[in-house]
Amino acid sequence: MLKTLYLRLISLNLGLWLITGVMLALAAGSFSQGAAEGGGLNEMPLFAWLLGAPVGFSWWLWIALALLAPLTLNAILCSIEALRKGRSLAPQLMHLGFLFIVLAHLLSAYGGFKQQFQLPEGGSLGFPDGERLLVENISGVAGPMGMLSSYQARMRIGNGAASGVEPNHPLFHKGYGIYLKQVELVPVPVALIEVHREPGAWAALAGALFFTLGNLMLLMQRRGKPQ
């Protein structure tokens, strides 16, 4: 009986049906109110949202998670089985990349953090370790259409060196990212700052590297071959 269960768990058919199920759950969810922007899904860690949101909003994510769990197991077991049989390493590296990305989402869903602050020049905010972030200067350049074409803020953490923060160039401090989201220069310069913590970011990057490596190996192997 255990063998039958194991064979079911490693079967390609099970993987294909589970992928189909996850796709359908996400597709249905994309039309639901729960996925609508403004529904709060991006404002807090996923698990916190799932526990707080009414099931009428979150049902599709619960279904997707329920299907992703056996799909993850299926991918692990299939890879172990393929390696035991001495099959190509490339698809297994891609599976490993997928598993790391699942891990990344789990870590961020559990321990992620996001909070917005509006700070004028001279304003500051405190971190849990007691250090303070000080906004020393806010500046921007207006484009021909009147909108800011670039903006930046000079910030300092504790007694450290001042750093320039601008869009796509955040400041990192002990696992937190400090992002400059928006700037108003009149009547007084004010910066909208977002502080993020993404504990899954390293796993997402590792997963991306494993997946890409496996993908490139697979492309090389398939060159000139019909399959």
Partner: protein, 239 residues
């Protein structure tokens, strides 16, 4: 220089039967995009006009290596289909106004340009794959199915790289490598669809017709991810 984009349409529609003329149409579109890019100082990837023109040119560009293979040397109909698909999206771009503003600061990074360009190369390859699948269903030649698989695998590779570069851009721009928006949900659906599609190859020749049909369905999912989400859903993450 919009006349170059307009000119590419009849060249595709009336000349794609011949490979050199197909290549000429691609070149005309490339010159158009290059002139836009030089004028803007960036890749033209913002707004429906630029993205549709970029998509059209990507279809031509990605189809070229396939059309020059020995297996497709006699496939005039398939060449015309690829040309017609590129012409369709070039035509679709024309009514929209061009957006000539500089990039908003948050989009002004190579990660964003890489993310979008790779996504369009992938979409184009999924389109070429769908046409190859259709040709297989009509003619039953196994080599067409093998080429469809290659188009899908290469497209899947571009798409995965696009998701990676998008995640890196998102992490530096928004503070997170992932946002729950309809666009990202459909991006995941598309990636999962082609994961399923490529796994299905392992089922063997009994699935040949199903494989070809799924390649066509995949392009429908692609179009919904690109255009449908922007048209039917509210998402900050659209063109």
């Amino acid at each position: 220089m919009k006349w170059l984009l307009i000119a590419s349409i009849p060249v595709y529609l009336f000349g794609s039967f011949k490979r050199p003329i197909f290549a000429l149409a691609v070149l005309v579109e490339l010159v158009y995009l290059a002139s836009r890019g030089i004028g803007l100082g960036r890749l033209p990837l913002i707004g429906p006009q630029d993205t549709l023109a970029f998509f059209s040119c990507s279809i031509g560009l990605m189809a070229l290596p396939f059309l020059f293979t020995r297996e497709l040397a006699e496939e005039e109909g398939l060449r015309w289909s690829c040309g017609a698909l590129a012409a369709f999206f070039a035509g679709l771009a024309l009514p929209f106004p061009t957006l000539n503003m500089p990039l908003p600061p948050v989009l002004d990074t190579y990660w964003f340009e890489l993310h979008v360009a790779l996504a369009f190369f992938a979409y184009a390859l999924f389109g070429v794959g769908a046409l190859l699948g259709g040709a297989f269903l009509l003619k039953g030649r196994r080599s067409l199915l093998d080429l469809q698989y290659r188009a899908a695998l290469t497209g899947y590779s571009f798409f995965s790289l696009s998701m990676v570069s998008g995640g890196i851009w998102g992490y530096y721009a928004w503070g997170t490598y992932w946002l729950w928006t309809p666009k990202e949900l459909w991006t995941s659906i598309l990636w999962l669809f082609y994961s399923l599609f490529l796994h299905l190859r392992a089922k063997g020749s009994s699935w040949d017709k199903g494989f070809a049909w799924l390649g066509i369905v995949g392009f429908v999912v692609t179009l919904f991810t690109y255009l449908g989400v922007s048209i039917f859903m509210r998402s900050s993450h659209s063109f």
